[in-house]
């Protein structure tokens, strides 16, 4: 039992040294979604708080965010999230793709699929109230007439 504990301890310290990328950038690129749409402040705040951790080049890491193995799980979410939609490079999408991404945002929010439940467990502040969802959807629908 004691041996096992020591092995786990050594392993869990060891894995902290495996290098991994950090999804953080100091500049807000010109292609950033919020930079280019002139959304009201409350809309911008909602999108930033509820979406940007996984859907942009700038994650606001929680304290355990760099501790493996949580960091790996987190990284996987971020990779998948950015692959689907990256707000930082939104203007690089073609006009048609932008419309598709906005269509998809509306549907994901109204179906309650986004933000992810697993994400909300650790970030209760990112949860959108029904009222907020409505505002957000209304705004996005205006972008996508």
């Amino acid at each position: 039992m004691k041996k096992a504990a020591i092995i786990i301890l050594i392993l869990s310290i060891g894995i902290q040294f495996i290098p991994m990328p950090k999804n953080q950038s100091n500049e807000v690129p010109k292609t950033d979604f919020l930079q280019t749409i002139e959304a009201p402040v409350n809309i911008q705040q909602m999108i930033k708080a509820s979406c940007y951790d996984c859907h942009s080049n700038n994650t606001n890491y929680p304290w355990y965010g760099r501790v493996r193995p949580f960091a790996w799980l987190l990284q996987q979410h971020i990779d998948e999230g950015k692959d689907e939609l990256n707000f930082s490079t939104f203007q690089e999408y073609s006009g048609r793709m932008q419309r598709e991404k906005i269509r998809s945002m509306i549907s994901q929010i109204s179906d309650g699929k986004m933000p992810l439940k697993e994400y909300l467990w650790m970030h209760p502040e990112a949860e959108l109230t029904n009222d907020e969802k409505e505002q957000l959807i209304k705004y996005l629908e205006k972008l996508n007439p």
Binding site: I8, L9, S12, W63, Y64, G65, R66, V67, P69, F70, W72, L73, Q76, S94, G95, R96, M97, E100, R103, S107
Partner: protein, 198 residues
């Protein structure tokens, strides 16, 4: 992280074993996916080699796959729709854009990219989500026929009740209404809005 880490180390250690198990499961899933992708790419290479892509004929594999998705959704068949969605993504990848008018190529490229994205989502979603993507895809395919032409008559059909009465459209090779957005639930909802002829 450094100061707080030691404090929370105990809890971290307890959960670490469990988390490691989860990760190793996830990894093997990813590998499986990668293997599937390789198989798909190989199949695609074969397809492209045998395709005779000229004029309206270039769109044949795309329309075949699109209509296969549609028919599967008419029959409420998620599995078939997923398969056809994958075929569609592959067919779109195989479309040689350089054969079309130079000034239309950018738009066509964008259509192909978005349509491929829909195909990939249809390949891995539950049926409600497949239908959402299919509805959006239908507009892209319609726009595509405006540039590429078509190899068969297509009926642009519209059901006003889809998506909380916002309405939804699709293309069919036959005039008769069989609704892919509702399936058996509302098979007859819709009417022909336009005919895209050869």
């Amino acid at each position: 992280m450094d100061t707080k880490q030691s404090k929370k180390m105990k809890t971290t250690l307890l959960t670490i074993g469990l988390a490691l198990t989860i990760i190793s499961c996830n990894n093997s899933k990813t590998e499986q996916k990668a293997a599937d992708n390789t198989a798909e790419t190989a199949a695609k290479a074969e397809n492209t080699a045998t395709n005779d892509q000229e004029g309206g004929k270039a769109i044949t594999p795309v329309l075949d796959a699109y209509l296969a998705v549609k028919n599967a959704l008419v029959n409420d068949n998620q599995e078939e729709a997923a398969k056809a969605g994958g075929t569609l993504a592959t067919a779109l990848e195989g479309l040689d854009i350089s054969q079309f008018d130079a000034d239309k190529q950018t738009e066509l490229q964008e259509i192909v990219e978005v349509a491929k994205n829909h195909g990939e989502h249809i390949a891995e979603s539950e049926i409600g989500h497949q239908r959402e993507h299919f509805e959006a895809l239908s507009q892209d395919i319609k726009d595509m026929t405006a540039i590429v032409g078509t190899d068969r008559a297509l009926y642009y059909q519209y059901c006003p009740m889809y998506n909380d009465n916002k309405g939804g459209m699709w293309l069919s090779a036959s005039e008769e209404i069989k609704n892919p957005l509702f399936g058996a639930k509302m098979m007859k909802c819709g009417k022909v809005q336009e005919v895209i002829s050869l």
